[in-house]
């Protein structure tokens, strides 16, 4: 998927201070183009989740603002939530339906769509994540990977342009991680803009085009994934093994 030059998300001088006085994010400005695959990395408490919540309109900024597809989030929150789907770190607290089908239908129902359209979207989202066989299953009986895929399906059914995933690989075993990663890659290939946060950059290497490093609520590096990856140590994130080997043996694999 080749990213277009048109920005779908524009963040300008965004700052957020929590009610207890602590600074969440501080003067963040960035543009994300349609079709980009962006990884946001940083230590715990660096402001990744706070930034993501602003993209979806869950938080209101103290200063600055966010525009989604040219329209300010604060001017039309519903539109922003429809265009930017947010998948939370804890899938368990995101799943609200009593069955897999009901959970995926929750978003489209809130958009007041017709029953036929809701059914079409739910069926399509469930088949896209490979959960169509589990449509009548109770969500708490699903595995960790299936729950994460269900959370993604719930967002996909709202047909957003941008998918924001907060730590999508957290608490997943290897097979669960592979399922979720392949899902994300497929969505990117289908033309969706992907923004995800992770501590484990190994998994997104080769897929992501851009890497943003955050520290103490500010962006300290933003650029091509292959270039910025060498600076991840300064934000307390582990460098991918391939990069470490490259640093030891050189680019050609020689001492």
């Amino acid at each position: 998927m080749i990213p277009s030059s048109k920005p779908i998300i524009e963040v300008s001088h965004l700052s957020h201070r929590f009610s207890d006085g602590s600074q969440g994010i501080n003067d963040i400005s960035l543009k994300i183009n349609k079709g980009e695959f962006v990884v946001v990395a940083g230590h715990n408490g660096s402001g990744k989740t706070t930034l993501f919540r602003h993209l979806n309109g869950l938080l209101t900024p103290n200063t600055g603002g966010v525009k989604v597809d040219g329209v300010s989030v604060s001017a039309d929150v519903l539109r922003a939530r429809q265009l930017v789907g947010l998948v939370f770190q804890d899938a368990d607290s995101q799943i609200v339906g009593e069955t897999v089908y009901d959970d995926v239908a929750f978003g489209p129902e809130n958009l007041c769509l017709t029953p036929a359209e809701i059914n079409r979207r739910v069926t399509s989202a469930l088949s896209a994540v490979g959960l169509e066989q589990l449509a009548d299953q109770r969500p708490h009986r699903l595995s960790g990977g299936e729950k994460r895929r269900l959370a993604i399906a719930g967002i996909m059914a709202m047909e957003p342009q941008v998918l924001v995933l907060d730590e999508p690989f957290a608490n997943l075993d290897y097979s669960g991680m592979i399922q979720v990663l392949s899902q994300i890659v497929q969505l990117h290939q289908a033309g969706k803009t992907i923004i995800l946060s992770t501590h484990d950059l190994d998994k997104t290497m080769g897929h992501a085009s851009r890497l943003i490093l955050m520290k103490n609520g500010s962006i300290i590096k933003d650029g091509l994934f292959e270039k910025v990856i060498h600076d991840v140590g300064c934000v307390g994130v582990k460098m991918p093994c391939t990069c470490q080997l490259e640093a030891i043996y050189g680019e050609n694999g020689e001492w």
Binding site: R53, N56, G57, L58, L78, R81, Q82, G85, L86, F88, D90, D92, S93, Q94, I95, V96, G97, E98, T99, Y101, D102, A105, F106, G107, E109, N110, L111, C112, T114, P115, I118, D136, R138, P139, H140, G154, I155, M158
Partner: protein
């Protein structure tokens, strides 16, 4: 077939009783077919269950026999395993035992005869048995209703029943109920985890139940409130608003009406006999 045996092997002694039995069996069979097909409108199912519950509370021994036959027919048609029902009933068994003992036993603290402080009251025992019987039938009907209705169907039906009442926020009530169904297993799981984590740190060595209760309930409450907070955010991010009107996908057909009329007739007969 007067003065003989009608279907299901019941003895009928007069024309009136024979007709009564036949009409009851016909109603039972029709209800069973509709419920077992799983296509019965949840609203009609709820109305039938409400009517039957009223009748169960008023029924005497004869009425309870007919209601038990209805339950048996429903059990067979729904293919609900009796072992599963007994498993569900084990939670209720203690309550039933207390109810029976409360009714059946006479305790006299100031008895002149020193040997008979506790005696069994025969009439009380019969009353206790009838109450237990009623409770078992009510539980059975409740379980049957739950297993033959989808949670979304129940939610939608509740929303529909709340609509005529202007002050009652039907959508919020239905959403609350569906969230309760969804999050009860999560809270139970969190409670289990909290207990296990505290056992790992030898909480069992503390004999004070108040201390143990406080140490268990406060972390669980905090976790539950945090989960509720995250849930509210997740719902908001998926455009949830109490003002949104959701389309109610409910559809009734002729057989639903027939079952409702049949059950109403059955209930009228039960009250009249």
């Amino acid at each position: 077939m007067v003065n003989g045996e009608c279907r299901k092997g019941q003895k009928c002694y007069t024309v009136r009783e024979h007709k009564l039995h036949c009409s009851i069996l016909k109603t039972q069979s029709l209800t069973a077919q509709s419920i077992s097909s799983g296509k019965m409108d949840v609203r009609f199912k709820m109305a039938c269950m409400a009517l039957l519950s009223i009748v169960v509370l008023r029924a005497d021994a004869t009425g309870l026999i007919f209601l038990s036959i209805l339950c048996l027919v429903l059990r067979i048609s729904v293919k609900f395993p009796i072992i599963e029902f007994i498993r569900h009933l084990r939670y209720l068994a203690f309550l039933l035992l207390i109810v029976f003992l409360t009714k059946a036993l006479n305790v006299s603290f100031f008895s002149s005869d020193a040997g008979t402080l506790i005696s069994i009251d025969q009439q009380g025992a019969v009353e206790g048995l009838l109450i237990c019987w009623r409770l078992i039938i009510l539980t059975f009907l409740g379980i049957l209703w739950m297993i033959t209705s989808s949670p979304s169907g129940i939610r939608t039906a509740i929303e529909w029943f709340c609509r005529p009442f202007p002050g009652l926020p039907g959508k919020q009530v239905a959403t609350m109920m569906s969230l309760m169904v969804r999050f009860l297993p999560v809270i139970v799981e969190q409670a289990r985890e909290t207990v296990a984590a505290q056992q790992c740190r030898c909480i069992q060595n503390r004999k004070n139940p108040v201390y143990r209760t406080v140490k268990f309930s406060i972390p669980l409450l905090c976790r539950t409130l945090k989960t509720a907070d995250r849930l509210a955010d997740a719902m908001e991010s998926r455009c949830y608003s109490p003002e949104n009107s959701r389309p109610l996908a409910l559809k009734s057909n002729r057989s639903d009406w027939l079952v409702l009329i049949g059950i109403t007739g059955f209930c009228v007969l039960m009250i009249s006999i």
